[in-house]
Amino acid sequence: MQLNEYWNSQGCILMNPYDVETGAGTMNPMTTLRVIGPEEWNVAYVEPSRRPADGRYGKNPNRLYQHHQYQVILKPSPDNVEELYLASLEAIGIDPLKHDIRFVEDNWEAPTLGAWGLGWEIWLDGMEITQFTYFQQVGGVPCQPVSAELTYGIERIASYLQDVDDVFDLEYTKGVSYASIFQQPEFEHSKYTFEVADTELMFRWFNDYEQEAGHALAEKLVFPAYDYVLKCSHTFNQLDAAGAISVSARATYIERVRNLAQKIAKLFLEERCKLGFPLMNDRDAARKWVEKLTPEN
């Protein structure tokens, strides 16, 4: 809530989580697609993120099948972005004078998205609480301008603020514990992923989703195509966690998802260009971009 207030006051649009399974806030099209192209874009949202391989049957104090990220995108990255971030910590009650806050190099790469960036892990008293990335490339398209991405690990920060060692001991809201909400789904999702899931069916889904993504792409429909890429990605993660994909086959699946992501990124840029980059405030600059990107006939 406080983060919402803070980032809203910094001019961010507040969004909701996406309605297709994602592995991270970055996968939400409000990040993946919107960081491509010249349009300004400032957004903040919570993203429940599914990581099948991290499922621990609700028994590990730190690892979850599904955790929550607070995601902020600032495009272009403001010159005082570090200060803005540090002020956001103060807004949620973390006084930097009473803690040790360090920026430790951590470069980010998402092979399934053909994306990479440079940046930091931010350590609060030795604990990584935020991933801070300057996006350099997404879907194989160079980011111009560059966005800053801030991804807060909500459970980690909460366990720090509430001073508990086990994420399940968190108080979600007055009188309701994290365990009472999430322990059962954590257990069931883990059991499902590792013991029950019909992997043969999932391999078929992967192929179907991939095909349908291609179908939507052929019709130049960026967002529907991207939804199927998310489905591919989640299915792949399920299969991978179930141990159904060998090391080298892994590379092939990642490449298949990346191929789609790259086509979608390119198409997104083209479609925004056709619309004249409506989110750009500087209309002259928008026209120049359109000119620059429109192939001469």
Partner: protein, 700 residues
């Protein structure tokens, strides 16, 4: 900036600034550098205000074309003057290297230093090289991380510089939290003191010293020893601007984890320094970990308790994870991990990890046989190989990949495997880099070789051959490891045989129908490059390396089985031997004679006698030559002599051959005589050529 790049970056900056001063003939008293995660700085003291004036002389065309018949300046002369901005009146004619030339001379006024430096400022920034640059916001510039501000002062005056994202000024910033906002730096000379007031220690050495002295204090107070890994200390020093050291604790129950797990969690994951009991017994090498850690905070001592608790909590979470895995792993039999490996793909179309281990085991035993190991040793070798990779399937190693081998040893000990086998599981990874240990136990060596060769062969069979900088599977380092093992331990193994075994094992097991000859030659070539590297690292001269590596025995691919292949260790001892004897007169003369013998018999190869016609030898020199050659002719035509024997033989042959060339006309008109003499030369050259390619040697 990332901690690792800070020192290299400030070194680069220093040398750029130094070069500017040198190129512009600027003298100075001091050149100080400063660096923190948020700034790189250079401070030059004692610069002059102005560059010194100097007289510059320019040489023009020859005097011959400078004046015409009427003794007037020609067009060429006038052109030379005007091009360089001179009056014709300034032209002079002077001698230069015995000929007359046109000359002009002028005083060049020195530039004011701030102006001169201003021209260089931008380059000092743009010429810094980083491993990975980035762009930010809408700017075009690329740099290691965003540039936020630039301070550029000549004493108390700003030396202007405008970049797209900021303009140089005299506003700096202090510590992120301990000071606020911008702060004016009045004079360049005050840089360090000014920043220290803003809670930033800009001097790297000083920060480092501050950390180590705070740690020494703790050691003194608590009577323990803090292990200061050099790399970690450098990194930590470059993560903070104002270091405050703090001591934290973890629960004693975690001490039942292996030391390496604890140290990895602390040092690698958390950048903490581990704490050991002070070793009273000087001889004992075993170290006892204590349940504490030392970490460095970027700030002062305010709220230090909160920071301590936070850090302890993170470590506790990590160690709980590790402990859980450690005890879970122990519940399983080693065999269960081996079974699991059968379902893990090694490389696509190259079978499972389990099959790979089978190959390594079979290969290890073959190598052990070649090294003439006893039956008991061979049994242990097989067991080492079988267990070499099981720990990759344990949860702990999957969580801490850097502990592969170590955990294998640990778990195998717990299952009461033979001690030498347990150690072998760890040691078979050695050497992991150019400076790493070699295995201590002989029994670990075959698997160390087999593991690396199998990886190389598998990768090459999939055409994954390193090119340029790309070497994702670290194949060069792997090949290097093979050479380090063979040469470092002086193993009498033939590279070519090892390669062909490894290829055969893979091919047969996976039914691949590989193109074996091509594959083997590629691999041999690859390993020979590493052998060359090894010899270079030993400080052996390039020409001597060529001399030992360019023998026909090495290039077996072209001369099928014409000779018994030279062992890599023999080549090493020849190279070392050459280094010692190279400059002796006797050796120089032998080389001269043998090279001559080789050249002449090669040049007239058609006229060399097929067999020696001994009865046609009439000159004493010829007969002596043959006598001297006898030991060579009697020796196995494929084998090598040791460097000592080779040298001894040279000593005996050299005077005879030298005489032979002085007194005998090799190319006699009589084809029989000529053929005989060429035959003698050829025998000598071929024998020597088996050992060394003498033509490669360059004498001083």
């Amino acid at each position: 900036m990332p901690a690792q790049i800070i020192l290299p970056a400030v070194e680069q900056l220093k040398s750029l600034v130094f070069k500017t001063c040198e190129n512009n003939r600027l003298s100075f008293d001091e050149l100080n550098t400063f660096s923190t995660p948020r700034r790189l700085a250079v401070q030059i003291k004692g610069l002059p205000d102005k560059q010194e004036d100097r007289s510059v002389e320019l040489k023009g065309p020859p005097a011959a074309i400078a004046k015409d018949k009427d003794n007037k300046w020609t067009k060429a002369a006038l052109g030379f003057a005007s091009k360089n901005g001179f009056d014709p009146a300034d032209l002079q004619i002077r001698q230069y290297e015995g000929k007359d030339y046109l000359f002009v001379q002028r005083m060049e006024l020195g530039q004011p230093v701030p102006e001169l430096l201003q021209e260089q400022l931008e380059q000092w920034i743009s010429q810094l090289n980083f491993p990975k640059n980035m762009r930010w916001a809408s700017y075009q510039m690329r740099f290691i991380r965003p540039i936020r501000w630039i301070v550029s002062l000549w004493n108390n005056t700003v030396v202007p510089l405008k970049l797209e994202m900021t303009e140089a000024g005299n506003e700096t910033r202090g510590h992120r939290f301990l000071s606020s906002g911008k702060s004016l730096l009045k004079d360049a000379a005050d840089y360090q003191q000014h920043l220290e007031k803003l809670n930033v220690m800009p001097d790297y050495e000083m920060r480092r010293e501050s950390i180590t002295s705070q740690i020494s204090k703790l050691e003194l107070e608590f009577g323990f020893v803090v292990e200061l890994d050099e790399k970690l200390l450098t990194e930590v020093t470059n993560l903070v601007e104002w270091p405050t050291v703090l001591l934290g604790d973890f629960e004693e129950e975690f001490l039942d984890l292996p030391n390496e797990v604890l140290v990895t969690s602390m040092a690698v994951h958390q950048r903490y320094f581990p704490v050991f009991r002070k070793n009273e017994n000087q001889d004992s090498t075993s170290k006892t970990l204590l349940p504490h850690f030392v970490t460095v905070r970027n700030g002062n001592s305010k709220g230090l308790d909160t920071v301590r608790r936070g850090n302890a909590k993170v470590l506790r979470a990590r160690l709980s994870d590790a402990r859980f895995f450690y005890f879970e792993d122990q519940k399983k039999a080693l065999d269960e991990f081996l079974q699991k490996a059968k379902n893990v793909v090694f490389f696509q179309k190259r079978g499972s990890q389990g099959q790979r281990v089978q190959r390594i085991a079979e290969f290890s035993v073959i190598i052990a046989g070649r090294l003439k190991f006893s039956e008991i040793q061979q049994k242990n070798v097989r067991r080492i190989a079988e267990l070499s990779k099981f720990d990759l399937e344990t949860q702990l190693v999957q969580e801490f990949p850097e502990l592969q081998g170590l955990m294998g040893e640990n778990y195998a000990m717990l299952k009461n495997e033979n001690a030498v086998v347990c150690r072998g599981i760890r040691q078979h990874y050695f050497p992991r880099n150019a400076k790493d240990f070699l295995p201590e136990d002989t029994e670990s060596v075959p698997t160390a070789l087999a593991d690396k060769l199998d990886l190389l062969v598998t990768a090459f069979s999939l055409n994954m051959i390193p090119s340029g900088a790309a070497d994702p599977y670290a194949l060069r380092r792997t090949a290097q490891g093979i050479i380090q093992l063979i040469l470092g331990l002086r193993l009498p193994l033939v590279l070519r045989e090892l390669i062909s075994d490894a290829v055969r094992l893979l091919d047969d097991q996976q039914n691949l129908s590989l193109e074996r000859t091509r594959l083997q030659n590629d691999l041999l070539e690859f390993l020979l490059q590493r052998q060359r590297w090894f010899l270079q690292e030993r400080g052996i001269r390039y020409d001597l390396i060529d001399a030992v590596l360019r023998t026909p025995a090495v290039n077996l691919s072209t001369q099928e089985n014409s000779a018994i292949p030279a062992l890599a260790i023999e080549q090493l001892s020849f190279a070392e031997f050459l280094g010692e004897h190279l400059e002796t007169d006797m050796f120089k003369r032998s080389v001269e004679a043998i090279v001559r013998a080789g050249n002449i018999s090669a040049k007239y190869s058609g006229r060399v006698a097929e067999e020696l016609n001994e009865s046609a030898l009439e000159l004493t020199e010829e007969k002596n030559f043959l006598v001297a050659l006898q030991p060579i002719l009697n020796s196995d035509s494929k084998s090598l002599w040791s460097p000592d024997n080779y040298m001894q033989q040279l000593c005996e042959i050299e005077p005879v051959v030298t005489r032979f060339f002085e007194d005998v006309m090799v190319m006699d008109e009589d084809p029989v005589k000529c053929g005989n003499r060429l035959w003698l030369c050829q025998q000598l050259a071929q024998w020597s050529g088996r050992h060394l390619d003498l033509q490669s040697i360059v004498f001083a």
